[in-house]
């Protein structure tokens, strides 16, 4: 036995080091992306990163805290419009609108979360879906047209990279989004592995027991809504800047459904799931379009069903399962 132990140690240490190295490698590759891909592809990946931030936020609410939201498109729209209005009507520099959108949505999300405390499951889904349905109509409302630009929306100028840096506008936006996304992911990872994260999950799994242990369910649930909206608001602002345009019909209820699809396909209650989900909702519709011009959404629907069958725990869950099995086989072979 003693002969085996020293040999096993370095191998186990290698296993723990692997994810960290892998992460750094992935990050390096991601940074290199805009310099090897076309402008359009870079734009697509930038949007994928934006969606990843949204899904991260949605996952905190739905995956880790068990509150279903079919209305995150509304928070996304609010973030986008706040950024657009600040830039277009008040001349605020683009980078300042990002945290501003986040904060506005934080408050908005928290306030929405308060009455939502009374609703569970399908009832909450309906309430959030109502928000998603209402948003385009509210945005078109004549009374606030002076700010929102009504049906035509608002056009934003594409920002330039800071003086001296040798990037194109698209490359700069990509790198900025990547930096913000990395920060948001790090914050989310910390949150989920902290006391707060455990409280959120306890409330999801057994609300009564959580209360009995002294967890203030109401506060945490509303806070989860607020944090989730914060993330989505930041993503909304980034999205507006990248697309350079906001209009009511860009934020229909379908967007909210897409976000839910992304978070489930990516993997609920998983940080990495946000990335897989974002890649899915950004690229699979395009891919489906390539396969069939006549009925692309039918192909998309088939993909959805196929993923649900093969990976019921999402891509992240599936990968975790494969990794666990591979590692078990490796340990047995030692």
């Amino acid at each position: 036995m003693s002969g085996k132990a020293p040999e096993a140690m370095p191998a186990a240490a290698r296993v723990r080091l692997l994810p960290v190295l892998g992460l750094l490698l992935a990050l390096a590759l991601l940074c290199a992306l805009p310099f090897v891909l076309s402008s359009y592809r870079t734009f697509q990946f930038t949007m994928a990163l934006v969606y990843a931030i949204v899904l991260l936020g949605l996952n905190i609410l739905t995956g880790y805290n068990g509150q279903i939201s079919l209305g995150h498109g509304a928070f996304y729209a609010v973030g986008a419009y706040v950024a657009a209005i600040l830039m277009d009507r008040y001349g605020v520099p683009y980078w300042a609108t990002i945290p501003a959108s986040g904060l506005v949505c934080l408050v908005f999300g928290y306030l929405f979360g308060l009455p939502a405390l009374r609703l569970q499951g399908h009832y909450l889904a309906l309430a959030t879906f109502a928000l998603a349905v209402a948003m385009p109509q509210l945005l078109k409302y004549k009374g606030i047209e002076a700010w929102t630009g009504g049906v035509q929306g608002i056009v934003i100028l594409k920002p330039d990279p800071p003086a001296g840096l040798p990037f194109t506008q698209d490359q700069w936006l990509y790198l900025l989004t990547l930096a913000i996304a990395t920060l948001m992911f790090a914050l989310a990872w910390n949150l989920v592995h902290s006391r707060v994260g455990r409280a959120l999950m306890a409330i999801r799994d057994h609300p009564v027991a959580a209360e009995a242990m002294g967890v203030n369910s109401a506060w945490f649930k509303s806070a989860a809504f607020g944090i989730s909206a914060f993330y989505t608001g930041i993503a909304g602002a980034l999205g507006a800047i990248v697309i350079q345009f906001v209009a009511p019909d860009s934020f229909t209820a379908v967007l909210s459904i897409n976000f839910l699809v992304g978070v489930v396909i990516g993997g609920l209650a998983s940080i990495s799931g946000a990335i897989w989900g974002a890649l899915f909702i950004q690229f699979v519709p395009n891919f489906a379009d390539h396969i069939s011009k006549a009925a692309p959404w039918a192909i998309y629907g088939i993909f959805l069903i196929a993923f649900a069958y093969v990976m019921p725990a999402g891509v992240a869950g599936f990968l975790r399962l494969m990794w666990t099995r591979a590692r078990a086989r490796w340990v047995r072979s030692l």
Binding site: Y123, L126, Q137, L138, A295, P296, G301, A308, Y309
Partner: protein
């Protein structure tokens, strides 16, 4: 006053359709604990099938009967081959399957029939009835809805098969122990729901015109109606449907105009839910911990 009465009666007509769809949603929910988000698209597809037959010269009521039967069978097949394999998956994963089905049906309908709006004939005469208060179609729709609801009630309350289906919805394990083939009951439930959806689609198509997206608003109202009544109460779903129908019409005509009426209707419903979180007639589940 007459205008108000007209809107209320119109509202009852559309309300009957919402009631039927809401009932279909509750039926599937009671037996499987899933909401069939694709119910609207299934109804839309059935209506297109009917349209194909009518356009080929088949009489309206014959097309109606064939469509209802075909929808029944298709509903059973969907349950058996699409839904049964994932019945043990997490709730949201099953929701994805429903969304997939919804999207496929919508897309295929658009592909086969194109997205141009088609008119769908009504089997009832064109002249208004009741002294001009409502159209014959609206009265007919209420009539058809009531017939469907009564037939369903009789089926569930007074036939052995209906009893078996109620038993399966409440307690599948005990149902097995008395020999009920639970799988068949689930398929039957889906078949019935699909048939009800087909009836609803054919009743509303003459009013809203036939296009692949015609049922999305209707489904949302039906979903809201089912929740308003209480997601586990079939009677509540029916009452909720009629309330929502009248509310929508009255709101749209007198309060807010057609663009925002959906929003206002939903806000009103959610306000009710905040006061009674399990719906008007839903069972408040008191669970022992």
């Amino acid at each position: 006053m007459e205008a108000f009465l007209h809107q209320v009666l119109s509202g009852l007509a559309t309300g009957g359709i919402y009631a039927s769809l809401a009932l279909a949603l509750v039926m599937i929910y009671q037996s499987t604990h899933h909401i069939n988000f694709a119910q609207g698209e299934m109804a839309m597809f059935s209506t297109y099938l009917a349209w194909t037959m009518i356009a080929a010269g088949v009489s309206w009521w014959l097309a109606f009967v064939v469509t209802v039967l075909a929808s029944f069978v298709i509903g059973m097949l969907i349950e058996r081959f699409l839904i049964r394999p994932v019945e043990h998956a997490p709730v949201l994963t099953v929701v994805i399957v429903f969304i997939g089905l919804l999207v496929i049906l919508n897309s295929v309908a658009g592909w086969i029939y194109s997205y141009t709006i088609k008119s769908f004939p009504s089997p009832f005469p064109a002249e208004p009835v009741l002294g001009g208060l409502m159209s014959a179609h609206e009265l007919g729709a209420i009539g058809v809805t009531l017939v469907v609801l009564v037939l369903l009630y009789v089926f569930f309350q007074f036939t052995p098969l209906g009893l078996a289906m109620r038993a399966t919805a409440q307690n599948p394990v005990s149902s097995r122990l008395v020999g009920i083939r639970v799988g068949w009951m689930l398929a039957l439930g889906w078949g019935l729901a699909a048939a009800i959806g087909a009836v609803a689609g054919m009743m509303i198509a003459p009013v809203v015109y036939l296009d692949p997206n015609m049922m999305s608003g209707v489904l949302l109202y039906a979903f809201a109606a089912a929740l308003l009544g209480g997601i586990d109460s079939p009677g509540g779903a029916v009452i909720g449907g009629f309330i929502v129908g009248v509310l929508e019409n009255v709101m749209g005509a007198f309060v807010i105009g057609t663009e925002l009426k959906l929003t206002i209707a939903l806000i009103l419903i959610i306000s009710v839910l905040l006061v009674r979180p399990s719906g008007l007639f839903g069972r408040v589940i008191v669970s022992r911990v």
